[in-house]
C-alpha cells in the first residue's frame, strides 16, 4: 500500500504461521497504522459514516428479505401488515432500513460536497473520485428499486415513470423497458426482478467501496489545505487518531438517525404509499424521495422528453468529468475565494432544484403574484426556477470551473499542511478551517 512500510510484527507462533500464508492480520494492521494527514476536520468523517450506513442497510435488508413476499399480490401486505405489525421488531428493522436510505444519502451528499470544496477529485485522486461517482450511481439505482418493493401507489408509479424515462432512449428504449417490465406494463414480474437486483446491488456497492478505499490508500488522504503530505511529521497513524474521530462522528450521526427511526419514522414517507398499488389510477401528485428531487426537477424543467432524460443523465455524468474540467492548479477552495462563491451558489441551486422537484410544475414561487408568461410558463413558476437553477448547475461545471481555474488569482497556499495547524492559536485542525488564508 503506497510507500507505507509495514510495522506489523507477528507476536505468536500462530500469527507467524498465518502471516507467511495469508498476511491478512498484517493487511489490517497496516490499514490501522496508515499515515493520515494530521489536519483532517469533521468533514472527513463521512467516509466512516457511509461505511456504517452500508452495513446497516445490508444487515437490516437481509433480515427484511426473510419476511418479504415478492409477488405483486402479496408484497404490500407483507410489508404493511406482516413486517410492520406481526414480525417481532419488524417495525424497528424496517424503520432502520427505510430511514437508513435517507441517512445514507444525507451522508453521501455531505461527503461529495466535502470532495468538491477541498478539490479531493484532482490529480492524483481521479480514479478515487470516479469510483465514488460509480458508488453514488449504484446507490441511486438501488434506492429506487428498494422504494418500489413496498408496492404502494408511490412505489408503483415511481417504477412506471422511471422505466418510461429509459424508454426515451432512441432505438433500444422500448426493448429496455420491456426487459425491465417483463410484460406490457409494470407488474408482478417487474417487482420480482427489482427485488432480485435490490438484493444484489448492495454487494456490488460493497465491492466498489473496497476499490474506493484501495484507491484512497495509494496516494493517501487529501486534506483541507490541498497541500500534499511532505514528511512523516505531517501525518498521524489512522488508529487511534482517526478511528476515534470517526467513531465520535458516527455516534453523533446515530443520534440523529435514532431521532428519525423512533420519533419521526414516517417523516420521509408519503401517505400515498399506504395505498396498495393500483395500475388504473395515478396519485394526484407524485414525487420521488427527497434525495432524488433535484434530478426530478431537472427532468421536468426540459419540455422535450428525450432532452429531459439527456439532462437528467448529464447532471450525474458531469460529476464523472469534473477532474478534467477543473483547470486550477490550486486544490482547495480555501485558497480560491472566487470559486468558493460560485460553489456556494451551486449548493443553493441544488437546494432550489430539490425544492422545485417536490412542487407542482406550474406552482407559484411568490404566492399571489401573476408574472408574464415566458414561452410556456409564468416566470413566477416552479418550472422557470427549475430551469434557471438547472442552467446554473451545468454552467458551474462546464463553464465556470474550467474558465475560473485559468483566470482567477488564488490566495497564497501554505508550504506545508502543518503550517496553518501550528500557527492556529488552539493548534486544532478543525478550528483551522475558519480563516487559514490569513495566517498561512
Amino acid at each position: 500500500m503506497s510507500d507505507h512500510p509495514s510495522t506489523y510484527k507477528p507476536g505468536t507462533a500462530i500469527e507467524r504461521w498465518l502471516d507467511s500464508r495469508l498476511p491478512i492480520i498484517r493487511f489490517g494492521a497496516d490499514l490501522m497504522s496508515f499515515p493520515t494527514p494530521r489536519n483532517l476536520n469533521y468533514w472527513y468523517t463521512f467516509g466512516g459514516i457511509l461505511a456504517f450506513c452500508l452495513v446497516v442497510q445490508i444487515v437490516t435488508g437481509i433480515v427484511l428479505a426473510m419476511h418479504y413476499d415478492t409477488s405483486g399480490a402479496g408484497a404490500f401486505i407483507s410489508v404493511n401488515r406482516g413486517i410492520m405489525r406481526d414480525v417481532n421488531y419488524g417495525w424497528l428493522i424496517r424503520g432502520l432500513h427505510a430511514n437508513g436510505a435517507s441517512m445514507f444519502f444525507l451522508a453521501v451528499y455531505l461527503h461529495i460536497l466535502r470532495g468538491l470544496y477541498y478539490g479531493s477529485y484532482k490529480a492524483p485522486r481521479e480514479v478515487l473520485w470516479l469510483l465514488g461517482c460509480v458508488i453514488y450511481f449504484l446507490m441511486v439505482v438501488t434506492a429506487f428499486m428498494g422504494y418500489v418493493l413496498p408496492w404502494g401507489q408511490m412505489s408503483f408509479w415511481a417504477a412506471k415513470v422511471i422505466t418510461n424515462v429509459l424508454g426515451a432512449i432512441p432505438v433500444v428504449g422500448d426493448t429496455i423497458t420491456t426487459l425491465l417490465w417483463g410484460g406490457y406494463a409494470v407488474d408482478s414480474p417487474t417487482l420480482n426482478r427489482f427485488f432480485s437486483l435490490h438484493y444484489l446491488l448492495p454487494f456490488v456497492i460493497a465491492a466498489v467501496v473496497a476499490l474506493h478505499i484501495w484507491a484512497l490508500h495509494v496516494p493517501g488522504n487529501a486534506n483541507p489545505t490541498g497541500v500534499e503530505v511532505k514528511s512523516k511529521s505531517d501525518t498521524l497513524p489512522f488508529h487511534p487518531f482517526y478511528t476515534v474521530k470517526d467513531l465520535f462522528a458516527i455516534s453523533v450521526f446515530m443520534i440523529m438517525f435514532a431521532v428519525f427511526v423512533f420519533y419521526l419514522p414516517e417523516a420521509m414517507g408519503k401517505v400515498d404509499n399506504s395505498v396498495a398499488a393500483n395500475p388504473l389510477q395515478t396519485p394526484a401528485h407524485i414525487v420521488p424521495e427527497w434525495y432524488l428531487l433535484p434530478f426530478y426537477a431537472i427532468l421536468r424543467a426540459v419540455p422535450d422528453k428525450l432532452l429531459g432524460v439527456v439532462a437528467l443523465a448529464g447532471a450525474l455524468g458531469v460529476l464523472f468529468a469534473l477532474p478534467w474540467l477543473d483547470t486550477s492548479k490550486v486544490r482547495s477552495m480555501r485558497y480560491r475565494p472566487t470559486y468558493r462563491t460560485f460553489f456556494f451558489f451551486w449548493v443553493v441551486a441544488c437546494a432550489a432544484l430539490g425544492w422545485c422537484g417536490g412542487q407542482e410544475p406550474d406552482g407559484q414561487i411568490i404566492h399571489g403574484f401573476e408574472g408574464p408568461v415566458l414561452i410556456d410558463y409564468d416566470i413566477n413558476s416552479v418550472t422557470w426556477l427549475s430551469r434557471i437553477s438547472a442552467l446554473y448547475y451545468f454552467a458551474y461545471f462546464l463553464v465556470i470551473t474550467p474558465v475560473l481555474g485559468l483566470t482567477e488569482t488564488p490566495l497564497p497556499v501554505p508550504d506545508s499542511l502543518y503550517t496553518p495547524v501550528l500557527s492556529h492559536p488552539a493548534g486544532a485542525p478543525a478550528g483551522a478551517a475558519a480563516a487559514p488564508e490569513t495566517k498561512g
Binding site: K160, I162, V165, T178, T282, P303, P361
Partner: protein
C-alpha cells in the same frame, strides 16, 4: 515466465515473425524448430479458441437476457371483449388490458365537434379525429390510458382542451386524446380493437 516443459515463445526485436524454441525437456518428443516454424498453426488455435469462447458466452448470454422478456402466461393475456352498453353517454371507464389501463370514453356530440374543429390546429403529433376512432363509431374513443411522456394515467375534464391532463408533468390532451401541450411527445396510443357488434368491442 513459461510453465515448465512448454515451448518458450521468443520474439527478437528485429524479427517480425514469432519463432518457437522448444525446451530441452521436450526436445526428444518435438522436432527441433530453430527459426520460423509454422506460426499460422498457433494463430489458428488462438483464434479458434477465442471464437469458441465468444460463441459460448453469446450462447449463454442470450437465454439470460431473453428470460427478462414477457413470459408465456403474460403473453397469453392478449385480448379482451367489453360490453359498451354499460357506458352511458359522457361517461368513461378505465379497464385493464394486458395489465395496461385503457380508457373507453363515450363521447358527447359536443366533444366530437370540438375534436373535429381542431383537426386543422397546430399539433405536436398531427392526426385527424377520424383517424382516432372507427368509422361509424365516432362516439367511442378507445385509447391506452398511459401518458406518452412517462406513463401516468391522465385525468379527464382537466386542462385547457376539454380532454385529459396528466397529473405527473402537466401534459394536456384534447377530446380526441391528441397531445396539445406539455412534455409528452405523442397522442395517447390507440390499441388494436374492432367492433364485434354495435355494443361489443374486442381489444387486442
Amino acid at each position: 515466465m513459461v510453465a515448465h516443459g512448454l515451448p518458450a515463445m521468443v520474439r527478437a526485436p528485429n524479427q517480425t515473425r514469432i519463432s518457437f524454441k522448444v525446451a530441452d525437456s521436450l526436445a526428444h518428443t518435438a522436432p527441433e524448430t530453430d527459426g520460423p516454424a509454422d506460426p499460422g498453426r498457433r494463430d489458428f488455435i488462438h483464434i479458434a479458441a477465442g471464437a469458441a469462447a465468444i460463441g459460448g458466452i453469446a450462447a449463454v448470454a442470450w437465454p439470460l437476457i431473453d428470460q427478462l422478456n414477457p413470459a408465456a402466461d403474460t403473453r397469453a393475456l392478449a385480448s379482451l371483449e367489453y360490453d359498451l352498453s354499460k357506458v352511458a353517454l359522457g361517461q368513461q371507464v378505465t379497464i385493464s388490458w394486458r395489465k395496461q389501463p385503457v380508457f373507453i370514453r363515450h363521447r358527447t356530440p359536443k366533444e366530437i365537434a370540438t375534436a373535429k374543429a381542431d383537426d386543422t390546429a397546430s399539433m405536436k403529433d398531427p392526426a385527424t379525429d377520424a383517424s382516432r376512432v372507427k368509422a361509424g363509431h365516432e362516439e367511442w374513443l378507445i385509447v391506452l390510458a398511459s401518458c406518452t411522456h412517462l406513463g401516468c394515467v391522465p385525468t379527464f375534464a382537466q386542462g385547457e382542451y376539454g380532454g385529459w391532463l396528466c397529473p405527473c408533468h402537466g401534459s394536456q390532451y384534447d377530446t380526441s386524446a391528441r397531445i396539445r401541450k406539455g412534455p409528452a411527445p405523442k397522442n395517447l396510443e390507440l390499441p388494436e380493437y374492432s367492433f364485434l357488434s354495435a355494443t361489443k368491442v374486442k381489444i387486442g
